[in-house]
Each structure stands twice: as structure tokens, then as C-alpha cells.
Symmetry: C2
Subunit: 365 residues, 2 copies
Amino acid sequence: MKRALSTVAALALLAGSAWAATDDDLRKRANETFKPIPSMVPAVQGNPVTREKADLGRMLFFDPRLSASGILSCNSCHNLAMGGDDNLETSIGHGWQKGPRNSPTVLNSVFNAAQFWDGRAQDLRTQAKGPIQAGVEMAATPEMVLGVLKSIPEYQQRFKTAFPGEADAVTFDNVAKAIEAFEATLITPASRFDQFLEGNVNALNAQEKEGLRLFMDTGCSGCHNGVNLGGQDYFPFGVVERPGSDILPPGDKGRFAVTKTASDEYVFRAVPLRNVALTAPYFHTGKVWDLEQAVAIMGTSQLGKELSRDEVNAITAFLHTLSGEQPRVEMPLLPASTAQTPRPEPLVKNSMEKGAAVERATPVR
Amino acid sequence: MKRALSTVAALALLAGSAWAATDDDLRKRANETFKPIPSMVPAVQGNPVTREKADLGRMLFFDPRLSASGILSCNSCHNLAMGGDDNLETSIGHGWQKGPRNSPTVLNSVFNAAQFWDGRAQDLRTQAKGPIQAGVEMAATPEMVLGVLKSIPEYQQRFKTAFPGEADAVTFDNVAKAIEAFEATLITPASRFDQFLEGNVNALNAQEKEGLRLFMDTGCSGCHNGVNLGGQDYFPFGVVERPGSDILPPGDKGRFAVTKTASDEYVFRAVPLRNVALTAPYFHTGKVWDLEQAVAIMGTSQLGKELSRDEVNAITAFLHTLSGEQPRVEMPLLPASTAQTPRPEPLVKNSMEKGAAVERATPVR
């Protein structure tokens, strides 16, 4: 009996070390392809993140007076209570208009090589100017925004402090820079996958490790790699097989609109997969609500592989380990408007019928 | 020279003590009419405020999945970044519809004798059920809301913890109770007026004290008294002189709709004046953006007095001292939807044209 037990123990030890070797190998391979989210706010090129600037940015991010109606803010579509997006197919904007593309999460967006589904903004400060002005989103103008901010003494003071030495600190560029600085703080470190990358091989269970292995072996990580598992480069949606027109409608040719290059038709930025379990529905049309289904579609359209049920489940389990520690954000206390503050656009009973809103430029996400 | 100085000093001392006597008298009179905001969360009748319940209520308050569209939450119209309301004439709700009355602040609303402009809800938990279901606001149904909450394990668990011992804790009544418990925490103590009431007569300057004196002597405090300087009783708008139909449109007869009593025509709840400097525009129509103008209108319509410029300015200065310490609220982290979670109402391109939204019941604030 004693002998039998020690044989079992020896076998267990062997198995244990075999597993350990495999796990460590997996971890090493993973570290060649992915990077952990840092636990500190990253530096932003050309826009140092100071506390004053990020605090101002938090106010602007939540201030609906940056919209024509006075009810929409950055947080309306990039809701920090819900994984940094709105969990809708496409967003609802000014005049209850439906936006053309699914709202991407703002979380960890500072790590993306470029912003928007077609990557047309090279950084977050360029991105921030888009939705404020888009007729289907906040429908404001730089003049309107600056009119609001300059009419409020506390805002004037905060711009001065956040951008010291500038004669006129309240500019649309600085609005965008402050928002970028705040957004750079919205990172989600310490996901179980990060813990795994950093050395704790027990942070993932067997199925999740199998999912990670499959994610690398089947080719997902060819596009979804780096710190954000995506967000770094552009690829055609439907490399192997184009999905149905509900998921990839012919009217939206993606990056083609930016580069006007035929090879960029239906090309989109590889979606960053951090916190993907929190940001359904999926794809630029937001037509797929189920993460398993999204994984299966990616298998056929991008890799030409019919993934088995078990494979889909394992990859999905792995994707769930990408949910990191969410930023705890205190609601700002916005200073009151003054007699000089431009008032929100008078609400036409049905502004869409009158075409008031749609006359403005309508850039897409 | 020495003698001259000491005479001046003696006179100053005399004047000082005379002022002190007057100030103390003013403070005593004020304490007979008003009460300070307590610094602790008040007890709520029939709904003890526990941390678990208030935390759950904070989640529900911010969760747009309690609306048909998936974009509107309690915080949309009662924005905690902006004095607890939306700073619009009347709110924008489902399908970009315009609400019929100005959104009242949620701050200190726990101290009101009843809720809504016509006082038709006796408490905050009754009030909370209104906007969730109103077709012009969140346009949801209790079934829809419970469908969402029951589909999400974390919500189920949190309801169990917040309402221990209840077999089925996820009920619409408990949704309302949790929201009420959170809202009871949204109090704003330590305004300068509270400091004055509590003994620091230097918390108000001379003009503000004059404003307080006028507020009591001209009769404002006849309706605006108690802890919230209002919110306790109902009065006709236009006791002496009815304001113009832009400010008091004939279509909204106020409390008459609740009591069906002729004497309640154009009767509204005396507005609570706490934080009034943060909650422009004013009156149930929200047609007046300027606090001075609102004070002057009240003088003529309610008191039959043409207040002088100086009197209006002094009363307004006093009203500014009613802004208290705003609650610091952390954005909740809402649990993700599941495959079972009902999806937001499919967005009809123009839902108002189709009449989808307006078919629902449309109660007013």
C-alpha cells in the first residue's frame, strides 16, 4: 500500500513538472506575442499627462454642454460604467440618430496605434475632436464648445492651470489634449491574462490555457497581438470568406474611405480584445451579440477554419481572462453655467424631420 | 492722536457688538424657519438605508439597461455632475422626445414631503418607478427591467444581499427601494447658509444677510421654509398675478391633475431651493434661465411686490449660499449582460415617426 501510494505520488510529481514545463513554455511563447497592460499611466507623445490636465479632461469627458443638445457627453457612448462603450449595435446620437459603426471602448485605447475602426485618427486627441463635431453624435462646433467653456470662470482657471504659460489656454486643441490625458488614465491592468504573462501560470485554468494555445496556433494572434491584442494594424474583414451582408454591409468599405486604395476595401483595424467580454455586441456593425459566435465567424472569415465547439469555447474562455481591473472614476462636479453660457440648441420637436441635425457633417467612427 | 484712535476703536467695538446682536437675532429668526441639512444620511421610512442597498441603488441609478433604448438612465436627467438635474428647460427622453416639465434635482430630494412638481408621489421609491416607465422618458416596463436584472448573476446576488430573507428579491418594488436608498445618500450639507444656521454668523456677508432678511420679511419663506427651503407644501403659481403663458402655460394645471379639485388649478409644490444656483433653468417650464429674473417673477406673481434691483440682488446672493457640499459619487462598475439579457429595443430609424414610443403611457414629472 505504501509503495502504491509513493508510485502515485511520483507519477503526480512527474505530471506536475511536465505540466509546469508546458505552462512555462506557453507563458514564454505568449510573452513573445503579447505584452501586459502596465500598472501605471503610460506617457502620451506630445501631451504629458499631468493631474491637472487629466482632471480637466475628466470634467470635459462627462460634460454634456460639449454637445449641441446639452445631453450627450463622451461618456454617453464610452460609458465607464459599462466597459468603456455603450453596449449597443451602434450608438444613438443627436436627434436620436443612429451612428454608422459600433462604439469602440475607450479603455486602454491609449495603447492603440491609431483610433476609429478605420484608423483615421493617429491619436486620442485627434479622435476626441470627431464625435464632438459629428452631426450624428454630439453635433457641436468648436466655437460652441469654446463659447461654453470661456463663459465659465472655473473652466478658464482650470485650463490655465492645466496648460501653464499659454496666453489663451481655452482652445479646441487643448480640449482634445485634456480629454486625451484623462483617457490615458483609463487602463485596466491586472487581468488574469496579465498575471499569467507576468509569471503566475496558475492564473489561467486548463481550458483558458488551451484557448490561449489555440489563439496562437490557429492564427488569431497574427492580427490580435501586442499589449491590446489588436489595435495595431489593418486587415480585410473576410480574408478567406466574406461574412454575410448583415455583418459586413457593402456600404461601409472601411479604410478605403481613408486611403482611397482599392486594396483597402473592407479593411478595418484589428479590434483590440482587452475587456472584450464586457463590450458586446461585436464587429463594426455590432450585429453579433454572442462572443462564441464572433469567435466562430472570425475562424471562417479570417482563417478559413471551421473551429470545433470545444475550440470556440476554449478561445472564448481565454478571451474572458482579458477583463482587467476597471478604472474607478469619480463623477466630476461640473461648474454651473453663467448668464454668458450659450444655451443648448432649442429642441425642435422632431429635429430629424426638420433635417436640422443631419445638415451637419456626419463623420463615422 | 492716541485718544482719537481709542475713540475709533471704541466706536468700532460698539458697532461690532451692535452687528453681532443683529446677526445673532437674524440667525435665531432663521432657525425658527429653516433647518440645516444634516451631515448624515437620514432615515427613510419603511426602507432602511444599508450600504448594500445604496450600492445596488447606485448601480441601478446609472444603468441605461433600465431604459428601452439602452442609453437613458436616472442620471441622464438627474445628472450628479450638474447639481442633480440636467440643466435643460425640459428633459430629452426616449426617441428624442421633449418632456413636459423641468427635471427637479435629486439632491436632498429625500427631505421633500412628496415628489414631482405636483407631489403625486409620496416618496422617492414611488417616484423612481415613474420615469422608468414614462414613454417620454426611459420608456421601459417592469417586465423589461426585471428581465434584464434577472439575466445577470451579479445583480441577482446583489439583490439577495440588499434584501436578505426575501425569497424572490429581484422585484420592481425592490428596484425602486434600492434607488431610493441611494438617493437618500445624495445630500449636500455644509452650505454657507447651514454654517450660518449652526452658529457661524460670519459665513454670510452683509449682502447675503440682507438677502436672508428680505427672504423672510417679504414673505418668500412663507412657502420656502424647512430643511429644503421648499418641497413641503403646494401653492398656486400666480397667487397675486399670474405670469405669462410662456412661463405658466394654460395646458399644465399642476396639482389639479392629481386631486381634480378646482382650487388646485395651477397649484405646484413650492420648489426646494437648496443648490438652486446650480439648477437653472427655473420653474416647471424651465423657461427662465436667470436666477435674478426668477426672484423678480416670484415677487410679482406670489407676493404682489415689485422688488427693487438691490432687493433682487440681495435675495439672489442669499440663494447662492444654499449650494452645499456636493456628493462625491464613484461611477459604478455594471456587470456585463449575458446571452439571456433582453436586448435594447431595436432602433427604428426614426422612432417618433413610427409612433412606437408615444403609444406608451406618458406621465409627467
